[in-house]
């Protein structure tokens, strides 16, 4: 693997590792209670007591950042899990069965393309009220078409291969052909896409929380922190800088990891 491609994989792993470490650390250790108010040091800059400064209630930004990392990873994983599960299943069935099933399923998928995460979140927020679950489902459903199309195209390619024919000739049923012979071959593009979709999901989650359509205000999340910081920009930049950098780092991490994985798993990009 070329140096640059190895760099992507390593840098991505390092960034996501750092975020994951912060999230895990927040369960066992936090410098301050993330919700503890300290009116004697509101909107203060970094200090020995508050490493990254405080927000307008004097709450420790570093502690809130660590707790926010949990939600970012959690929402991202669940959302991409929903997309991978539903999209993968629809794509696999459409590609495998073909004909009318393919037509109908792909038509439904095309309609979902018209509903990006924010639009889906608006729709779901009207039905179920805004919240973490709504945001996760919205991001997941909006990502379904990408996974459906990807799985379908992989399945279409693989099902024409000789070893699948051989499996069929030996009497393997539909389910066995799909799960044992076809899907394992379709796995690597899905892994790459999962990482890239996680980057998009992190951005979407932050955006939805920023709009008040995601994580509820009483739970520290990076999007919430930014929304609250907006009103106090003139007085202190830290409450906006800290979560913004964290979001950027995480998104960059997932997309570098996705690029690196693609280079590692796909021999064609490795050669070029």
């Amino acid at each position: 693997m070329a140096l640059r491609q190895r760099f992507n994989l390593m840098a991505g792993t390092l960034m996501i590792g750092l975020v994951a470490f912060g999230a895990i650390l927040s369960f066992v250790w936090l410098p301050h209670d993330p919700n503890a108010l300290d009116f004697s040091s509101q909107l203060s800059g970094p200090s020995r007591s508050y490493w990254l400064g405080t927000d307008h209630f004097g709450r420790d930004l570093f502690s809130r950042l660590l707790v926010g990392a949990r939600g970012t990873l959690y929402v991202g994983f669940i959302a991409v899990g929903i997309a991978l599960g539903i999209g993968g299943a629809i794509g696999a069935v459409a590609g495998f069965l073909g004909s009318i099933a393919d037509e109908v399923l792909m038509r439904i998928i095309d309609v979902l393309y018209a509903f990006p995460a924010i639009l889906m979140a608006l729709l779901l927020a009207a039905i179920f009220q805004p919240g973490t679950l709504t945001a996760m489902s919205a991001i997941g459903l909006a990502t379904v078409p990408i996974f459906a199309r990807l799985t379908r195209s992989s399945v279409l390619t693989i099902k024409a291969r000789d070893y699948v024919e051989a499996g069929r000739a030996l009497g393997a049923g539909h389910a066995r052909l799909l799960t044992r012979h076809i899907l394992p071959g379709a796995l690597s593009p899905l892994i790459v896409q999962s990482s890239l979709s996680l980057a998009v999901a992190v951005l979407a989650e932050a955006a939805l929380s920023f709009l008040g359509l995601g994580t509820p205000p009483d739970v520290p999340s990076w999007g919430n922190m930014l929304r609250e910081a907006q009103g106090f920009l003139i007085m202190s930049p830290y409450p906006a800088l800290v979560p913004g950098f964290a979001i950027m780092l995480t998104v960059l991490g997932w997309s570098l990891l996705g690029d690196g994985l693609r280079d590692a798993l796909d021999p064609r990009t490795r050669r070029s």
Binding site: R4, R107, I108, D110, V111, Y113, A114, F115, P116, I118, L119, L122, L123, L124, A125, A126, I127, P130, A199, L203, A206, A207, F210, L211, G212, L213, L226, A229, Q230, L233, I234, P237, A240, P243, G244, I247, M248, L249, V251, L252, S255, L256, S272
Partner: protein, 314 residues
């Protein structure tokens, strides 16, 4: 070509009808009585009955959907409960903010991304390519709403060159409108530029690796001619897709940016509709957004047909 356009048009139409079904049935799934949700539990039975009548809840759902759909065809999206005005009128008013915002952002993105992406692809073996790639990778990771806050901090709070938010209507002061839209356009456009740069670079590299480019070079054409005539023209199909995609992205991204800069656009109207449980308004808004996305992808499909005959006759 005509058959191709007609076929694509009907395909887009079916998508819009299906999208309208999805929007309608989603709001049908709102648990409880919509009239009670809107007016609260203490509302009088008369007020509830009147609102149910106004919302059309007295007729069966399929009939209601058909009424709504025929209304849409006539340009009538119903009446907003909160504003007591036609939904279509409210939406058209807000488009004066959202459309220039989205178009401006897409324009900025194109101006930055196309030359940068092509340059990076052409200079693959120099320091320029990794530099452009790194910048665009970081740029794509920056949330537009955070960039918006940072721009406010620098250009509005520190330098005091531009307003931190708010909106001046076109008819009152066009220059003021441009000033109030400039930072939002940059916030929305830069991130999109980063995404587009990567895509442009990738599609250009793919084209430049084709055999016909080698042939063109081998027969002695100048570098510029090879790039402009043989490279760019063939990359155009992908570039049009990228453009369509980014128009969709900035249109949807404007929902967040309008919130950052307190712009009275379509996105803020949608958030108000959620907050006030204004279902007719929300329904209309979501359909307009989804319809625009379908329409943009229809335009992209059509331009494919013009640019690439193999797609037209497939």
């Amino acid at each position: 070509m005509f058959t191709f356009i007609v076929r694509r048009f009907f395909s887009a139409l079916i998508s819009i009808v299906l999208a309208s079904m999805l929007v309608f049935s989603a709001l049908l799934a709102v648990p409880g009585d919509p009239a009670e949700i809107i007016l609260g539990l203490n509302a009088s039975p008369e007020a509830l009955a009147a609102l149910r009548e106004k919302l059309g809840l007295t007729v069966p759902a399929p009939q209601r959907y058909l009424n709504w759909l025929t209304g849409i065809v006539r340009g009538d999206l119903g009446e907003s409960l909160n504003y007591q005005k036609d939904v279509s009128e409210l939406i058209i008013d807000r488009l004066a903010v959202s459309v220039p915002l989205a178009l401006g952002a897409a324009l900025i993105a194109c101006f930055i991304a196309l030359p940068l992406g092509i340059l990076a692809a052409l200079k693959r073996n120099t320091f320029l390519d990794p530099l452009v790639t790194a910048i665009s990778q970081v740029g794509a990771a920056i949330p537009s709403f955070w960039l918006g806050l940072m721009l406010i901090l620098f250009f509005a709070v520190e330098l005091r060159w531009l307003p931190a938010g708010g909106y001046v209507p076109w008819e009152r002061d066009p220059l003021g409108t441009l000033r109030s839209l400039l930072l939002p356009i940059i916030a929305l456009g830069l991130g999109q530029a980063a995404v587009m740069t990567r895509m442009t670079r990738a599609s250009m590299i793919e084209v430049l690796n084709q055999d016909y480019i080698r042939t063109a070079k081998a027969k002695g054409l100048s570098g510029r001619r090879v790039v402009m005539i043989h490279g760019l023209r063939n990359a155009l199909v992908t570039l049009i897709t990228i453009l369509g995609l980014s128009l969709t992205n900035v249109f949807i991204g404007s929902i967040i940016i309008e919130q950052v800069f307190a712009l009275p656009g379509l996105g803020r109207l949608a958030l108000i509709a959620i907050g006030t449980r204004d279902f007719p308004l929300l329904q209309g808004e979501i359909l307009v957004y989804a319809g625009t996305i379908v329409f943009l992808s229809f335009l992209v499909d059509i331009s494919y047909g013009f640019l690439d005959p193999t797609i037209r006759y497939a």
